[in-house]
């Protein structure tokens, strides 16, 4: 198997903060690899190191077989980068934004114009091609941003939280684009805070926390590890809470958690739902809320690390200002 991206022991500090504490990655060519983690976990820093925007203090990494530190110019010829913020020039039109990139990549005037028109059509931006990007909606800006990173037909594409802040429809459209790209052989490194997004797109996921990869595997493997699903029960009468706790714990064979009057417990077998309903009915407990849902990132985290995916405000702010 060939790897489009390899990283070994990446360490990066910002002053007293250690953003990366030894990140190892191996991304097979032609796949989507998901980097999953909360704000401040080190996802953006990892992408910035791999995209040659930042040098690591320790460790090494190759992209497309080239060392990011020794051969950055070669790496840059292979990659496309779409950052957390739609980094298009708002004063330029859609066409001009893509022309700019095309010309910088060495395309001739006519070639750059043709490529721009082609991409604008692909991303349903042809109608807005002549308008300044500042008049675009959030979804349109993201699409333009993604189009800009595809002008040079990159072999490796970095997508740093590409759907944060997008409405569900725009998000689905972007997912489709990613799938098409991968079908054409592009390798995608995707960072996300959403388990669902990683689940939808990635063939392999690395969960990062505090600058380290704490778990890695296929979405199925990770979900199996964490129990996969969560049962939520809220009794109509808080007095029934002890009964609900007992039933949930017994059926799921795990220790339930209580937040106010809601009981949650991780479950791995979907058949527990009817069992819980029967038991609660038998105990004459009236239920205000009963649900079985996929584990959220928070719960994956809880089960992997033993701590909640706290929003590390400081690291986050720092990453933001450096981005």
């Amino acid at each position: 198997m060939t790897y489009a991206i390899r990283a070994e022991g990446l360490v990066r500090r910002f002053g007293d903060t250690t953003a990366l504490a030894g990140v190892d990655l191996a991304v097979p060519t032609g796949t989507v690899f998901g980097l999953l983690g909360p704000n401040g976990a080190g996802k953006t820093t990892t992408v910035r190191v791999l995209a040659t925007l930042l040098t690591a203090d320790e460790g090494q990494a190759t992209v497309g077989g080239y060392d990011v530190r020794r051969d950055p110019h070669r790496v840059r010829q292979l990659i496309g980068l779409t950052g957390q913020y739609a980094s298009v020039d708002e004063a330029l039109t859609g066409t001009e934004n893509l022309l700019l990139i095309g010309r910088l990549l060495g395309l001739g005037r006519a070639q750059a114009r043709a490529r721009a028109a082609e991409l604008l059509a692909d991303f349903q931006l042809s109608d807005a091609a002549g308008r300044a990007a500042k008049t675009y909606s959030g979804g349109m800006r993201r699409r333009l941003d993604l189009a800009a990173s595809l002008v040079g037909r990159p072999q490796v594409l970095f997508l740093d939280e590409p759907t944060t802040g997008l409405d569900p429809r725009s998000r689905n459209e972007l997912w489709d684009v990613v799938r098409t790209l991968v079908a054409d052989g592009v390798t995608v490194l995707l960072t996300t805070q959403y388990l669902e997004e990683a689940d939808q797109l990635a063939s392999e996921i690395a969960v990062v926390d505090h600058g380290r990869v704490i778990a890695q595997g296929t979405p199925e493997e990770l979900k199996a590890k964490t129990g996969g699903q969560v049962l939520t029960v809220r009794p109509a009468d808080p007095a029934d809470l002890p009964t609900v706790l007992a039933v949930a714990g017994e059926v799921a064979r795990a220790t339930p958690e209580v937040a106010q009057t809601t009981v949650t417990v991780p479950v791995s077998d979907p058949d527990v739902l009817p069992a819980v309903v029967r038991r609660l009915d038998a105990a004459d407990v009236r239920v205000a809320e009963l649900a079985l849902r996929g584990a959220s990132l928070d719960e994956v985290f809880l089960s992997l690390t033993g701590h909640r995916a706290e929003q590390d405000a400081d690291t986050d702010a720092m990453e933001g200002s450096l981005a």
Binding site: Q77, S87, L104, R115, A121, Q155, D184, L322, A323
Partner: protein, 271 residues
């Protein structure tokens, strides 16, 4: 989704390094990017033009007679100076634009492209130099409509242009440094107002040195703005040329030597 697709069957091995010619081409493309914006936002051009023209009109007709006896005489004295003031204010656009690129992520996008490392900054500075040349020319034309006459012919005008552009090019490193250090573009403008306003008004560009209080005269005489304004007066109207021009060039070299490395270091540290 056909065009977005990637990877032609065979790829040439990517080049290891970039030539200088390629870097210059990138610079030109990035300068185009800054200038083409004017097409969509003609207000920017008005912005570049209205303030200097308004200053010329106001000072000539409101203060001219009081300061120099007649508005015609005052225009001859003041126009070269107002060119310097306007050019210094205009250097702030470099820092403003750079800061915008840094905060909005455009700078990252450019740095992830296989282009010369210095091209994004050089492209911006080149575009701003073109804008500078435009407003200097505009001031000269407006002045001539109001009765300003050049004293040393075309050669004097060209030399004045070259000298002022060289000086602003050096001074724009201060703007780059500020643009890198502050966290939002508006702060670049605040800096410009707080520093350039007093700096240019405590020179001899609007009022002759000898009409100011004694303690202020000492400062006015060594103020670089005075020196550049004197050099331009010499080239455009009449008066000593060699001394002020040489001192202006020295100042330009000094500013560049001090602020260019500081700005580049700050930029490296920030990105």
């Amino acid at each position: 989704m056909t065009a977005a697709t990637a990877t032609p069957a065979t790829l040439p091995a990517p080049a290891r390094r970039l030539g200088v010619v390629a870097g210059l081409r990138h610079t030109a493309t990035l300068a185009w990017r800054s200038l083409v914006q004017i097409k969509h936002n003609p207000m920017e051009l008005l912005d570049l033009s209205i303030q200097p023209v308004m200053f010329v009109l106001l000072f000539t007709y409101v203060f001219g007679t009081a300061i120099a006896g007649s508005s015609g005489d005052y225009l001859r004295f003041m126009l070269p100076g107002i060119m310097v003031q306007n050019a210094l204010f205009a250097t702030m656009t470099t820092g403003f634009g750079l800061n915008q690129d840094l905060t909005k992520g455009v700078f990252d996008r450019l740095r992830a492209l296989p282009i010369a490392r210095w091209a994004p900054l050089a492209g911006r500075i080149l575009a701003d130099t073109v804008k500078q040349a435009w407003s200097i020319a505009l001031l000269l034309v407006v002045g001539m409509i109001l009765g300003f006459r050049v004293g040393n012919g075309l050669l004097g005008v060209l030399a004045a242009f070259a000298l002022l552009l060289a000086f602003t090019l050096a001074a724009s490193w201060i703007s780059v440094l500020v643009g890198v250090l502050v966290n939002e573009p508006e702060k670049v403008q605040i800096f410009g107002f707080m520093v350039i306003f007093p700096l240019t008004f405590t020179s001899n560009i609007f009022v002759p040195t000898e009409r100011m209080p004694g303690w202020l005269q000492h400062w006015v005489e060594i103020n670089p703005v005075t020196i550049v304004a004197d050099a331009l007066r010499g080239l455009l109207v009449t008066g000593p040329v060699a001394g002020p021009v040489a001192q202006t060039l020295l100042w330009a070299v000094g500013l560049a030597v001090v602020f260019a490395p500081l700005a580049v270091r700050a930029l490296r540290r920030r990105v």
